[in-house]
Symmetry: C2
Subunit: 220 residues, 2 copies
Amino acid sequence: MSDNKKISMSVVRRLPRYYRFLLELKNNGIYRISSKALAEKMGASASQIRQDLNCFGGFGQQGYGYDVPKLFDEISAILGLDSRYKAILLGVGNLGRAVINHVDFRSRGFELTAVFDNNPALIGSRINGMTVLDVSGLAQYCKANPVDAAILCLPKESAEQTGDILYGSGVRCFWNFSHFDLALKYDDVITENVHLNDSLMTLCYCMTQSKQSSQTQTEQ
Amino acid sequence: MSDNKKISMSVVRRLPRYYRFLLELKNNGIYRISSKALAEKMGASASQIRQDLNCFGGFGQQGYGYDVPKLFDEISAILGLDSRYKAILLGVGNLGRAVINHVDFRSRGFELTAVFDNNPALIGSRINGMTVLDVSGLAQYCKANPVDAAILCLPKESAEQTGDILYGSGVRCFWNFSHFDLALKYDDVITENVHLNDSLMTLCYCMTQSKQSSQTQTEQ
DNA sequence: TAGATTGTTAATCGATTAACAATC
DNA sequence: TAGATTGTTAATCGATTAACAATC
């Protein structure tokens, strides 16, 4: 069906954004939109939107624009949001708990099936209807249950150790909040990294930069 | 001092990564590294590393390579990590609490000075040594205290509302975890977005894609 | 039909990689 | 000095924007 041309990550990373804006339009009862109007709404160019969408197919209609609910469904399908990938989460610290409680796995193609920690104080406690399991039983768990993806909310050292166990158990997809870069060690894994500290440093850079350039202006 | 050429965001987003790898090298007692060796370690190209660093100055030495502690200090300075930007956090839900407890503000150029919520059950409680303040007193707080940046850990609607108050109070820098895009509404703000749901959808896409292409291979 | 807007090709712009002279 | 490795320019590659024929 889909043409076998490789989609660039630049395009892929814009898909969730299209998804969000189209959902909002749909919820507001808007059934039709042109690339120009959508571009304005999203702060993008109409050309880019048409190019992006045409990577996956001709979803629009000349002279009319795009059917919002139809396009929304198409993008949901492209993203694979109707999947039910079984995910387990490692590390029930502050970050892990936030991910468990805050992220809507169901509507994003995932199902959170188990959570693990190595802290005896946490093992056995319940979070969001799940009992925290002992990470020492991880390999065994992976043998007995399907695991499509693992979510790493661990400090770097444990992440490497646990990542090795998961890889050894056949897990190849990771949502990685740790500073251990799995893709560097294993070349057949799919990883999506979230580095909060990096993000904050980027903000720090931008703030520092803008401060300096405004100072330069004043100094002149 | 620094040449006034504009640094591209592609380069800026790699800086925290250089920071991380150099810190690790430094901690491991490695005092010297060539662009080639660092490239191998980071999964990048030596050419890119030299290009990136040369945006900011000639930190290396021909025939020798780079002095690790010196380069680390240079990058810290470029990022502005010695700053003490005063940040306040809005929304002490799961995500907000994780950010408060998990992120190391000090070492990333920030100081978390106050946290706010609108939930009466949370207002007045203490988190990490800070008392949760009532968001209704936000504008007043901003008048009485310096606020360099705001961290939005709110649902979309409250984020827009609260963002407006913050903007009205003169705040121009945002670390935004919400789905409300401030940069679209105000053109003089600095925002760094973290969209966990988008990140998870990207992973879903990649997993779905790899599944389909491996199926295609099998089908042939 | 006339107007609007897509799908798609061509042109531009930016980022990455390659190459090599400069130099430690 | 000879070898190594940078800083920097040139070449390539990819992504974005512009343009326009196709068509609803």
